[in-house]
Subunit: 350 residues, 4 copies
């Protein structure tokens, strides 16, 4: 913490601040300039509220100098975290794509979509069984039945499963079926849920809240990691701004920022990030070009009749084209996508 | 819903849209202008996603014309909701003040503060027993022990109790001790919690999320009311904007907007709305001047040593002065505050 | 400036930073902690870009410790600036109200409105002659003819004149007619205009830009003051946020923040701050309750037929009632409004 | 315009609204549903303020159905605008890059940088001669001398010139030297400047204001086009949001949205969009991947000693690598970049 005193602060005020900091177990260094005094307080004091000093008399400003997160940051863990689930590796130089419908609706629906996304090169099947809906009058998901359908379809096509868990009591249930547990944007600061996920040993996909700063997102990852679960995947999915042509404003620059501050893998969700089908592909490509470790995308074979988020779901053919475009883009920055297609064909299709 | 077709939309595209709307059970009215066709779709279809039509070919724009909330809105409930708890009336012409520490810390602490806020004219004692903290390394509250201390102190001074419930499983526990159940800003869209609160019969204080629109806040109230619990108090507590001198930007204009759209009582939380002690009083006065039905304010007798939010807590003397100022302001707009002090004295103090 | 080095910064990196700072004429103080090194750089270096140091190797963060404004800040000018124009005093303990139509439309219109706002207690007549309009197809103002009408009406009723100047070339023209020169929100960072206003000797009413931080607003005031014109009135008029029920979100808390950081008078514009007539009065009252030195309000006797901003203009009767409410509120915080009405009558009307 | 009446609106209120709309020369269509009445008002009425109807009694909501811009929109101009300047084509399938220093500082500086950006494949040289600076104490540009140096350097290397014009009086001067006239973000709503640019016949590069919606940006383009100058290039350069790790939040999704709504070319400015050197390349690549027609990038051979924006300027080697990455990305989406390098070499370098 650095405490900047006012130009006209009295010596007594300065001494009081120093005494308080010493009392809080900080190492204190004082720099007295011609017009200003600065007090450096050094020590590992996570959880201290800088406003405690800020309200003292004679204080102009208090500046925090320690990242409030430790496990999620690069300082003590400079190398990238690589998460391995079966034969899928997240966080390395491969761009991993998770795809599927917003909600699991029926066995046939999830099977059709699983086949389509597998064919196009996805590695993980997404699908919601418990849906957080803004309106109490909207479809709320199939529950456990949906999870079972999702797992069976994924197994049929050799895909992993990611699905959202909305409540700490549902963690054991969702764990039975999913390989990756997703925390939705609205729950990013549901601390009871985060703590429960800290106690399990399954990778967690943590979506950035729509009003969450990058730092707060890392603090939510810290909650999970503080419990001993180090396999957290960060996900940018759009923030709320004054521009409302798109549902949210996808903060593509958060991808390289997260990667600078943290060693955790970072993926992007252009479906929720934009909320409009014809903006999903451009933003998916942008995320890969900016260096994302992966994508999570809504795909539906019959979006007109989808029970939720149809308007932002890609058709399978659109998804396939997008995958091929992203493969080329990933090569431009020294990454790769394993689509099991000859690169020449991919280039031609682009 | 009103569907505006593009100027060059074909008759076939128009017919497809009409067919789809009829299929969704809307009454359809078509207006054909020289250059544009507009299709009005009338019917009570809550939960329909307007983007379903928006992505159809030939469609320029879809405009929603029904409020998505019904129970929380004024349309079917024009008169103000009045909530009576013992002898306290919230939602009428009295400005009701809830005050107390951020967290319950000890028996002595809560007793001292309860006495002080009672003396100044507060009607409800606030205090957290379960604290949602951004950092996993911060104080997390005393739990049930804290709730018991809070209740006992309140009873000693004839105050009601409001306290936050963070998880649906804790609803029965908090209900035992509190008269009003508070939903924090971070949980405003924790739908499992909202549904659980819909099933109980105690007033709920619902804080606006820091990125929640006014409409989304009313939809969260609707979740609770859809379960049969109609006693919801809305609370403005600051939204996230680009300005970060203050922790949040308190949206004072939301107070009259909520009151226009909804019949529910609206209070304001200037402590979290600003995050800085010397801004609490101006914003509390502003909220009353804008017509708020009440205030919820953090007060601490020893904020330097508070375990949380000390820097935004008022000293008892500041709180007392504020109450007297608010009493005069409430009179300016035909409201009142019952401070059990002769108005003359209050005026002189102002 | 305080430079925080990374935990693993090398001694060589630290030395390079120190050399660079010395080279920039800073006094340098080094604090070496167990894990972190902090470098304090003290000196009055306005205009230095902290990112210059931030991009150096081994640097974790650079924190600015000097306010970038000097003339507008309280540090070297602790007492409030009081602006006297004829018999009107702005910045003292009287709440001064400026009122009038958005645009001057005709002699009769401005005369009718001037009479009405004078009767209610306004001290300054507002009215636009050059209108900045988002659409090129909207009414753009009467120009000099409008200014003349405005001045004549003001003189007839003993009012001062405030009017907007949009371009530096128009400064001499507007100066001929107005007592206060207004800079609109869209021009808050039109630096050529600000410099031109720095060279004149008339008070300037500077509106906060809709995306301007409090600091940037003070820097724009600094531009004017750096030219020698110290009579600047700051005006909060709403910022752009994700909430769009209201046109802008009025940042009432900016009023006490401006007053803490700066000695300049601060007024509020609830007409543009909300954009909706029935929200103007609550927000005007809120601004006074928060401590504003004045208000600027749009009033029109026939808003249905106003050429601009009719929907946010108050009717004269609404304005009169508001003035009486504000008078009571100003008393609550030790201020006053001179309505030339017996206070008893005002109280009864409230 | 579509007027939605309240459910309990009286027939008299409905008739008044209809009369008013007829009076405003709209074609009126009425749809009476079981519970709600909707009034469609059709006609080309740009510049009408919908709030005029919104404040009438019985009105629930007014929805605008016409884009407020006409020349900038796709409705009457479906095909893309292609701007040809000498042998450079902007708006077609080639991604055009503009690059150079923030400010022109000296003949040697601009020559060195012009050579470097030309070699890497840029087509246009950027450089500021008049600088809008937030602080009055910062470097303000070399003025005409700077423009001359810029032109000479560009001519030496066969580059076009883009430079900012900040004031309408400077339009003739900047026109003498520049091929493209740039309007900065802070001037996006400086209507006098926009009108002046409407009267000239040179392409204008219009930067989106940092609080400007997509629609407002198009309205500013409309101002220029309404004067007869149809060659406007839109530029996304970041908007202001609550996230302040980056200077602005670059709204990459605005690129495809602008392209859907308007026929004008759209480029991106990742230098100002992020404000940090190591975020420029990821965001430049993201913009190309999202479909931008071009980029404008700050490059400096000695950014440590740049007089402005050094920390966000790329080194020439970084710029060269970025160009090669962008070339591959542009191919992924059926576009191209003419770097005059064999594609094989480019691929290897990527």
């Amino acid at each position: 913490m650095v405490v900047v005193m006012k130009e006209n602060a009295t010596e007594e005020q300065i001494q009081k601040v120093i005494a308080r900091l010493v009392n809080m177990n900080f190492d204190v260094h004082r720099s007295t300039g011609v017009s200003k005094t600065i007090i450096g307080a050094i020590g590992d004091k996570r959880g201290v509220d800088p406003r405690t000093i800020e309200v003292m008399e004679g204080v102009y400003e208090v500046l925090r100098i320690t990242e409030p997160y430790k496990l999620a940051g690069r300082t003590f863990h400079p190398e990238d975290t690589i998460i391995r689930i079966k034969d899928v590796v997240i966080g390395g130089d491969e761009v991993v794509v998770m795809a599927g419908p917003c909600s699991v609706e029926s066995e046939e629906q999830i099977d059709t979509i699983a086949a389509a996304v597998k064919r196009a090169g996805a590695k993980v099947l997404r699908g919601g069984a418990f849906k957080p809906r803004t309106s109490p009058y909207s479809f709320q998901g199939l529950g456990e039945k949906g999870l079972r359908m999702l797992r069976e379809a994924a197994d049929r096509y050799g895909l992993l499963v990611v699905s959202e868990v909305m409540d700490k009591n549902k963690v054991p249930l969702v764990m039975e079926y999913a390989d990756i547990l997703q925390v939705g944007a609205r729950n990013m600061q549901n601390y009871d849920l985060l703590k429960a996920l800290g106690r399990v040993r399954k990778p967690v996909l943590l979506k950035r809240g729509m009003a969450a700063t990058i730092e707060e997102t890392l603090l939510s990852a810290e909650y999970i990691m503080a419990g001993g679960n180090y396999e957290v995947i960060l996900c940018e999915r759009g923030i709320r701004t004054f521009e409302n042509y798109t549902r949210n404003t996808m903060d593509i620059s958060a991808i390289p920022v997260f990667q600078k501050l943290s060693h955790l893998p970072v993926i992007a969700d252009p479906s929720h990030g934009t909320g409009i089908r014809d903006k999903v592909a451009p933003m998916a490509r942008a995320a890969v070009a900016a260096g994302a470790h992966g994508l999570i995308i809504e795909v539906h074979h019959d979006p007109e009749n989808a029970l939720s988020d149809g308007p932002q779901s890609l058709y399978p053919a659109q998804f396939e084209k997008l995958m091929q475009e992203c493969q080329i883009i990933s090569q431009a920055i020294g990454k790769k996508m394993d689509l099991r297609l000859p690169p020449a064909k991919a280039l031609a299709a682009g």
